[in-house]
Subunit: 355 residues, 2 copies
Amino acid sequence: MTMNHEEEDPLRATFMYGAGDVRVTEVPDPAIVDPTDAIVRVVRACICGSDLHPYHSLPDTPTGSSMGHECVGVVEDIGAEVTTIEKGDLVITPFAWSDGTCEFCRAGLQTSCRHGGFWNAGDVAGMQAEALRVPLADGTLVAVPVDENSPLIPSLLTLSDVYGTGYHAAIKAGVGPHTTVTVIGDGAVGLMAVLSAKQLGAERIILMGRHTDRTDLGRDYGATDVVTERSDEGIARVRDLTGGDGTHVVIEAVGHMPAYEQAVGTVRAGGVISRVGVPQYEEAPIGFGSLFGPNITLTGGPAPARAYIDTLLPRVLSGDVDPGRVFDAEVPLADVARGYQAMDSRSALKVLVTP
Amino acid sequence: MTMNHEEEDPLRATFMYGAGDVRVTEVPDPAIVDPTDAIVRVVRACICGSDLHPYHSLPDTPTGSSMGHECVGVVEDIGAEVTTIEKGDLVITPFAWSDGTCEFCRAGLQTSCRHGGFWNAGDVAGMQAEALRVPLADGTLVAVPVDENSPLIPSLLTLSDVYGTGYHAAIKAGVGPHTTVTVIGDGAVGLMAVLSAKQLGAERIILMGRHTDRTDLGRDYGATDVVTERSDEGIARVRDLTGGDGTHVVIEAVGHMPAYEQAVGTVRAGGVISRVGVPQYEEAPIGFGSLFGPNITLTGGPAPARAYIDTLLPRVLSGDVDPGRVFDAEVPLADVARGYQAMDSRSALKVLVTP
């Protein structure tokens, strides 16, 4: 294959070698392995809040752990069996790859695809790189009629993960008109959950977060109230705002146990807790005193971002919504470690990575 | 008030004084306290699977714990503000009392009524008795045009709890045509869940239980398969029956941790676990490896039995369904302790109690 970068330059990609240890490394050029593959040159990648979990806890990994699961790129090559994607297409690459044809994909649950998987596992490398191999390209990639220099690129990039993830949270929770919603977490996924709840007609959206610049953006996206307190104080504040009852829906966009406890504390009897923050715990309270007694439903999981692109893309293309505003910093690939530091220290909300 | 029993006879009611210690005790006649009360003479009460939880674990309770939350009876007296229920009405008494007018009741979640509650708490006594005071009679009671000697009484009695509870499980899980369902537990609630899933059009209903007489009744109610194995073997069997995937819905009608683990093991990715067995645990696995990764929804809780009576009553009255078949034994109130023993030893499925 021929990449746009100079032939003699080795390809660069991001690896994590342990907690806090992120480096850009030279790797072999990606190549077509299966006839259903495509090779994508990355136009923009980014760093995800979920990348901060290994950034805090990854044990020493001498071989490195490949990183990145969100990008927009240009198709450089396709395998012999790829039929819907062409060289030169600008594509959105969702954070799971999927065949698009199995029962799970047809049911809109591409994250459980019979033949699919997640990036950065096995021989499928990550997207914080100059280029990558995409398995099952027909099922996975979405071509969009946009130039790679378009100002829409950041918003399109949110469809790889965070916008679809926020939307998944709201859809699984059944948000609609007359629904009151609490969103726990003012990270990019929390803000996308606010935007999604607003799009689905939520009557009231209470955003729990402590970073004014983020909660201000949340207000722009549709939050009607902001609660800066946490734990019991935060719960009491949401209860105060809702006549003591809590909200019909609570979207938990963090993944740590205190956020789950906050969700249990702020959800209304008969309501739904929808989790899209990757849980950093396995066991949690679900008995009579937490979920069962008040008939609380617990839902959520890894978003089938691919499923939601068709729904969400038109309003991104038309400029009706601007989810790309969650990106407030940008680093070149060589400085990706600085991007991790900025997100970890909360000085950046979400960081674009430019190869 | 005047009761049908002789004036000089003191009223008898069931109390539990500790694990395994059930006795019938003399109590004062119930009386109207609030103008919204009714007094109901019990025609038939029964023993619930959930009564076996304290039967196993209640600490010594010298004052006794009032028992029973299911009955059909005849209204003997009403308070001045009761308008929809009259003396002489045959009524179904659901297992929670509720005002019928608050937002939660209007939303069909009478178990979270703003002014309601559960029997056997505070000054509201239980139904394994000759008579009882019913708070908020207009919201709570459902009058049915049936004589107290009708053969329909056992089926009507299931609308107090177990039929509504099984139906709640199926409704909360979203059972419909094309849904495959596993029901864990061949107790009365499990069997009512089978009947309910069948009524809602489930395509396949796998009943997990080990008592042939009960699973045979389950087949009559609509079970298409019976799995007698438990734990990992039971899970493997359900997976075998479903091409390795598990079922869209799993109804957990037991309440013990092994049943929850069985539910997690048998539910299909993207599916729903609906719990109506009262959980005998508070913490349980809900992280990436159990619920989150495969996008499993967990729902359920105490059934608003009151909400479902309107839906389920017509087919009971017409004889289209015969949920009363879950009663396979009957004891006079004086022998209620024997009824508990029979259910605890599994020699009886569900026991009618006749005052």
